[in-house]
């Protein structure tokens, strides 16, 4: 009885397993998934996505009720919704199973000879004819060799094949996709990334601050900490480098628009020994032992505290003023304006003029030397047309404003650096290469030609090609006309 049941269970398991393999090796499923993914990706593109525009914008657009409905359906963030992930996962499984069960086994075809077939079957091929030749199959063989066919004569039969290697294309492409997927998995499990805003002569250590993703800027070098962001399940390691900014500057076009931002960086080990140094700019990152650092932005940042929590905010140039605008609700916002004291403003204008006229680097660190700046607070309407003065905060002071306490700790030019570790790249890049190579290899078709001498001493020739027929028919006609004329 017991044995019976366990046998049944085993059987059931076997059947399920086989059904699973059958289902997931089918090309039909692949096509279905391609089409579903196309449709859902299209939906995700057309609908505004929460990570792009923010929740507030969506609530404004749909109303709260509809927003919650859409959110529960995953339509506010299609690309991270469970069902989109499920579709991708299904495609992944489909791809793996099908690759091993259907695609890779076919590589043999690339090198195989055509299977010998009978005269009657040759006459059923998509293209065929019957001719008489004095020298028999030899003439045909020579012509086929001229056309780069591989040929074999076996008594009264001739086999010829060309372009078999094109059949490897599918295998190479599929190997590439699998390699890419493994690479992405490695990066997800062990890679990390993050941002740091750094002033000249300062730097950062990489640290894991848990959920906290705001960088701590500090005067003591031990506390220059840049948090990494990573997956919840993570098996990686954080390198213990100190990355220091030796110098940072920008170069402008004559019009005053920024042309390029530069940062001269050094990487130190724990013993303060310099390991590597490089000047980076946008599109020219530093790459050192698996750690990549990118120039991402550049500009003036203010240290501002809200209810005793200090954060670094980028200043925008809004109608000629250096401001931070914080939206507070539907149509009001808080404008924080950094104002230089009169004498220093003139000095700065003068300095800017001389340096940008030369088109040379506008050095930055000096801005922090301007100690005499203050923060003015305004409430503003959404479109910036109306504003009301609320008060001012002196540097290193705080101001109580209703329920909010606002502090100001100065403005500095910082270089925005993005860093990341992408350990899967050793597989991702070859994977991408294989995909491209495979798609190219898959381009042509395998062509086969059979010929047999029949009872009436005539030669029956027939051929087939696994893809485009038209080109092959042309070639077939050409070969036959040539040997007939000779």
């Amino acid at each position: 009885m017991r044995a019976e049941t366990s046998k049944k269970i085993k059987n059931l398991f076997k059947i399920t397993y086989k059904a699973f393999l059958d289902e997931f090796s089918s090309v039909k499923l692949a096509i279905t998934l391609f089409i579903f993914l196309a449709i859902t990706t299209l939906i995700g593109t057309i609908l505004s996505e929460e990570p792009m525009v923010g929740a507030a914008e969506l609530v404004k657009k749909y109303g709260l009720e509809k927003y919650h409905l859409l959110k529960s359906l995953g339509l506010t963030d299609v690309f991270h919704s469970w069902w989109y992930l499920a579709l991708l996962t299904a495609l992944g499984i489909n791809l793996i199973v099908a690759s091993f069960k259907r695609v890779f086994p076919k590589w043999r075809i690339a090198f195989a000879w055509p299977i010998e077939i009978e005269e009657s079957n040759i006459k059923k091929l998509p293209i065929h004819c019957e001719i008489s030749l004095n020298k028999g199959l030899k003439t045909l063989e020579e012509k086929l060799k001229e056309k780069n066919y591989k040929t074999k004569i076996n008594g009264k039969n001739l086999l010829a094949v060309k372009g078999g290697w094109h059949r490897l294309g599918a295998s190479v492409t599929h190997v590439g996709i699998l390699t890419l997927l493994i690479g992405c998995a490695i990066t997800t499990l062990t890679g990390f990334n993050g941002m740091a805003q750094v002033a000249e002569n300062e730097g950062f250590y990489l640290t894991d601050l848990g959920d906290k993703s705001v960088q701590l800027r500090s005067i003591e070098p031990e506390n220059w900490l840049a948090p990494i962001s990573k997956m919840p399940l993570w098996l990686g390691r954080i390198p213990s480098y100190l990355v220091k900014v030796n110098k940072t500057w920008r170069v402008d076009y004559e019009s005053g628009q920024p042309k390029q931002w530069y940062s001269d960086l050094s990487v130190f080990d724990q013993n303060k020994k310099e390991l590597f140094r490089k000047t980076i700019h946008v599109n020219e990152p530093l790459e050192f032992r698996g750690l990549d650092i990118y120039q991402s932005n550049w500009g003036k940042f203010s240290q501002i505290s809200f209810n005793n929590e200090t954060i670094t905010l980028p200043l925008e140039n809004f109608r000629g003023e250096d401001v931070v605008i914080l939206p507070l609700g539907e149509d009001v916002g808080l404008k924080l304006k950094v104002v230089q004291r009169l004498e220093s403003r003139e000095q700065r204008a003068e300095k800017n003029l001389t340096s940008s006229a030369k088109g040379g680097p506008t050095s930055s660190g000096h801005l922090s030397a301007l100690t005499s700046d203050v923060l003015e607070l305004y409430s503003i309407s959404n479109d910036g047309s109306k504003q009301k003065y609320l008060g001012r905060v002196e540097k290193n002071k705080k101001l109580q404003l209703g329920p909010m306490n606002i502090g100001y700790f100065g403005t500095q030019t910082l270089t925005g650096l993005q860093f990341k570790s992408n350990p899967g790249s050793i597989l991702i890049y070859p994977g991408l290469f294989f995909i491209i190579a495979g798609v190219f290899i898959a381009f042509g078709s395998r062509k086969q030609i059979w010929a047999a001498v029949n009872e009436s001493n005539k030669i029956v020739i027939g051929g087939n090609s696994d893809r485009a027929k038209g080109k092959f028919f042309q070639e077939f006609e050409e070969i036959v006309s040539k040997i007939v004329i000779e």
Partner: protein, 306 residues
């Protein structure tokens, strides 16, 4: 040569190129109506070649003025797209002896030319690049994409030809696929028999042209998307950001991947394949122009018209 002169020369070449396309339409159209007029078809090809030549010269002038490969705004992108369509069409015409829709391709090209010249000046100006776009990656990211779009567009015209041939011209009501047998006599009474699994040889031809366009176009699309990811990785440190332009390119890619895998099954009808190719080209439109025209947002804003 001063800048003004260069830009005048460029505009002149652009106009000659557009006018050549306009003439090509007529030659192709008349040769299509009467298939014995082979000379007129050759003239059509000649005018397309002329157009390609002058377009190339216009691009060179612009490249000199920019001191860079001219691919910085929608206008330049459209010119290169038109260049790709002409080059791809002439290549396919020579290689596969296309003889039925040269006039459609030329008429389409004329629309591209008119659209490009209708663009507001802000989209045509020679302007300096923002830091993120100053990269050689730009020249290896965009041209493969434009080339693949061009091939998909030609493939779509061929699909329309297919549907026209099978749906409109063959009203026999015979839906089942049957083999079309042909017997060709070459010298000395030698006959070659062949068959295709299509409604007519013409339909078979259209089907194959579409297939060719997709097999040329798909690798180029793949390269373009992958290069885009590598560039993004280089510039922003992230391979993929679900930006609307990226995702639309992915949609297009899924559709043509479906086309290629559908094709593995010999029982799928040509009508289905033609429809997929048409859906694919609609996605190409959304990727290329739609993302900005319909305001899907995102980082790729250079095609936007304010």
């Amino acid at each position: 040569m001063d800048m003004l002169k260069i830009s005048q020369n460029e505009i002149l070449c652009f106009n000659i190129s557009g006018f050549s396309v306009f003439i090509a339409i007529w030659f192709y159209a008349i040769s299509w109506l009467n298939s014995r007029l082979i000379l007129l078809k050759k003239l059509g090809s000649f005018f397309l070649m002329t157009s390609l030549f002058f377009l190339t010269v216009a691009l060179v002038f612009r490249g000199i003025a920019l001191n860079f490969f001219p691919l910085t705004n929608l206008y330049e992108s459209l010119i290169i797209f038109a260049w790709a369509v002409i080059a791809a069409y002439l290549f396919l015409e020579w290689k596969f002896k296309i003889d039925s829709f040269g006039w459609v391709v030329s008429a389409f090209l004329l629309m591209v030319f008119l659209y490009a010249s209708w663009l507001p000046p802000s989209q045509k100006q020679i302007a300096p690049l923002v830091p993120a776009l100053q990269s050689y990656w730009r020249t290896i990211h965009v041209p493969p994409l434009l080339m693949s779009y061009a091939l998909f567009v030609i493939g779509a015209f061929s699909s329309i030809g297919y549907l026209f041939e099978t749906k409109i011209l063959n009203k026999s009501g015979d839906k089942a696929r049957r083999d079309i047998r042909t017997t060709k006599e070459i010298t000395n009474g030698v006959k070659i028999n062949s068959y295709v699994r299509e409604i007519s040889e013409k339909a078979h031809f259209f089907d194959e042209v579409t297939y060719r366009c997709v097999t040329f176009g798909f690798p180029l699309l793949t390269i373009g998307i992958i290069n885009g990811a590598l560039w993004a990785n280089h510039a922003w440190g992230a391979l993929w950001q679900w930006d609307p332009k990226e995702t639309m390119a992915l949609v297009t890619w899924f559709i043509y991947a479906a086309y290629l895998h559908f094709r593995l099954n010999t029982k799928v009808s040509g009508n289905v394949l033609s429809l997929i190719s048409l859906i694919g080209v609609a996605m190409v439109y959304l990727t290329y122009l739609g993302v900005n025209q319909f305001n899907f947002g995102g980082l790729h804003t250079y095609g936007k018209i304010d």
